[in-house]
Amino acid sequence: MGNEKGYLALVLHAHLPFIKHPEYPDFLEEDWFYEDMVETYIPLLNVFENLTEEGVDFRLTMSLTPPLCNMMADPLLTNRFSRYLNQRVELSEKELHRTAGTEFEAVARMYFDKFRRYKDLFENRYHRNVLEGFKKFQDMGKLEIITCCATHGYLPLMVHKESVNAQIKIAAQDYRSRFGRNPRGIWLAECAYNPGDDKFLRDEGIRFFFTESHGILHGTPRPKYGIYAPVYCPNTGVAAFARDMESAQQVWSAESGYPGDARYREFYRDLGYDLDYDYIKPYLHSDGVRRNIGMKYHKITGKVSLNQKRAYNPAEAREVAAQHAGNFMFNRQKQIEYLSTIIDRKPLVVSMYDAELYGHWWYEGIDFLEYLFKKIYYDQDEIKLITPMEYLSIYPENQIVQPSMSSWGDKGYHEVWLNSGNDWIYRHLIKSAERMMELANRFPNAQGLLRRALNQLARELVLMQSSDWAFLMTTGTAKEYSTKRTKDHVKRFNELYEQIQGNRINEAYVYELELKDSIFQQIDYNVYSSAAKEAVLAKY
């Protein structure tokens, strides 16, 4: 232990549902992945590269969910992304000429420089596999990559523990195949924790997870340190770390949060709408409809209409990001200083965010993080960045508290994923899980086509269980897509189930689904057997 007064654990949750449509040459919803790659994931790697080059030591905990890892490693999607990135480089180069001598020259130059740099990283340094980059920083000890439920499945709404077990086991196996070691931590989808599910984490060697603040505050017995130290779950000893609301509010608050600064980039004013149609058309989707293309030349400016926004000044915005990073650090110092007067150990502040907030939504969030890492490293020694495992090695003794059921969703429990707008899905999710268990129990040693069919059945089930679909039905965005995805997986599951039951498996059908729903190449349907679940429960 050094002279620091306390610790800050920064945690980013990177996730997208598995969206891949090989059946179409061009698919709109795949853009979610391409946008986040170019605005968040690669820019983050770029920050790590810069810091390392400069010799700045940093610590960050980051979930890369299994669906996201599967997409990052998928040849079809990475090829399509490469094309997407090339188009951005091409357009931004044209823009250099078009904007020369105008007020947009600087921002056009910024995009060109960034896209070229990201292309170089993606193609040459990571060989189209950004997981290589993330793994590199994990192996250097700077980054702690944690896993997530296999398809971001919402555990407290799974009646059958076989489903919980499978979500964890499939995720852990996927993690091992990509990062060459066991996952030490997990981001439970939506931070949704159900007492007892930690048994399945423990069985995979997972040592910690994260909860919303009341997961620990409402735990039993009373947590001595509030949320400023982790607790151990009874029987399993898996550690729970809770989210600090003060640092969360500083970023998320609609009124006072950093991202609303008038000098930051305006999200809604996009070149896809601003430029001449014929000029921009090659960069739109094949249907030619104007949409956001991710290049934006204006700043928030203030409460004015979109056409009154002023030109974005990249240097000015970076300066603001640096100020905000300084403010964030100052507030953590004050917070930790005050907490030290109340508790008898060095307090830990856990700041958790969606990774895509940084870069995709809050464009300068990436610069903010880079400045924050640098300032913490160079400018002070009161707070120290830490990972959960490092904290546990400093403080191995922690209070045993049963955390409360909770989630980080609106109102703190399950309403976002269970309400009158989406509750119909659980009839199918639960029935499909029951049928999956039934077949796994009946065919413990399936071979050949039957084995392929059972494995595909497991893929359809986990894809159906993505919490994203229920979330999108509630928020009303992409409701049609999320409803269709749920129904598609239910239908595919049932069709395949009937084929297996009737001993009439159609190989062409299995093949088609293997192609479309290609997540988890190495899945083993036996994770759904009741014996696998009982084996875990018998241990703890």
């Binding site: 853009d31 090829n79 094309r83 603040s213 094949s286 109340i342 703190g412 309403e415 509750d423 239908k491």
Partner: protein
């Protein structure tokens, strides 16, 4: 056509999904029920009861008995009960239910407990006939624990300070802002669909067709609304001018809503002195259907 498709994609043409245009099943042909937790105050029960089950019950108990019986959810508090046999619960609560509804939101009588829901008939002479028993589910306590750990003691005043700092006042708040931002993330591409347009339209067409084919069906429906919420522990809360009882600071009332009616439900809270008030207006409209 895509230039760099992975080779596997092009090896064989993709066959049409034989089920792609079918909707999901309404049921799975098995009498069963499942209970899910929603939050400390609510659970969700859904069920399926097959014709076979109804036939069996009629043959066992007689049509007349069932006709005169009330259909209910008997919610058993099974906290600490190692093996529930139908009669050994800590307490149970009966609530009327309509079997045809196929799902129901249940207001939890006590937070932090474990429950099993039995669906069944309550006969005129008070006999309970079980139709389906749910799984066990537990709801969270929703408050700070009263249990204090001897080994990890803290001065009460310090604990209160910590709670405040830990964001106890924010619980469940703030997340909605996150949700808005995250959902914006998805909105960008939502304006119209691209490659998928064909499949969307065929999907919609099929739904219409299903409705045309099924002519010989019947339907009955009615409507109740549930108003629920919470207030400061010593506040006096009224709905539409009538004071209501708070349990642990929470309240919930059900109100029938007849077709074509508009109901105004002003909810007021006042402190004991009567010098501070808060009000929330809820207006419910049930449009006159055909």
């Amino acid at each position: 056509m895509e230039q760099n498709l992975s080779s596997a994609t092009l090896v064989r043409p993709i066959v049409k999904d034989p089920q792609a245009e079918m909707d999901v099943p309404t049921g799975y042909g098995k009498t069963e029920s499942y209970l899910l937790p929603k939050d400390p105050a609510w659970m969700f029960l859904f069920w399926e009861i097959t014709q076979g089950t109804f036939d069996y019950l009629r043959s066992q108990y007689g049509e007349e008995t069932l006709k005169q019986a009330r259909t209910i959810i008997r919610l058993h508090d099974v906290t600490g009960v190692p093996f529930f046999n139908g009669n050994n619960s800590v307490e149970y609560y009966d609530m009327p239910v309509i079997f045809e509804a196929r799902s129901w939101y249940i207001n939890v009588p006590k937070t932090g407990r474990s429950y099993i829901a039995d669906l069944g008939y309550l006969t005129a002479d008070g006999h309970f006939i079980l139709v389906s028993r749910s799984n066990l589910t537990s709801v969270p306590p929703g408050h700070i624990s009263d249990i204090i750990d001897d080994k990890w003691m803290i001065v009460e005043g310090d604990f209160q300070k910590l709670l405040k700092l830990s964001g106890a006042d924010y619980i469940g708040l703030g997340s909605s802002e996150r949700m808005q931002v995250v959902s914006q993330h998805w909105k960008l591409t939502e304006l119209t669909s691209s490659g998928s347009s064909t499949s969307w339209s065929s999907f919609a067409l099929h739904l219409d067709k299903v409705q045309e084919e099924e002519e010989d069906i019947w339907l009955e429906a009615d409507c109740e609304i549930i108003i629920y919420g919470s207030a400061s522990k010593n506040a006096i809360v009224s709905i539409n001018g009538k004071d209501i009882e708070l349990k642990d600071g929470k309240f919930s009332i059900r109100q029938h809503l007849s077709a074509g009616s508009v109901v105004d439900l002003p909810i007021r809270a006042r402190n004991a002195k009567g010098d501070k008030t808060r009000q929330i207006m809820i207006k419910a409209l049930r449009e006159q259907g055909k």
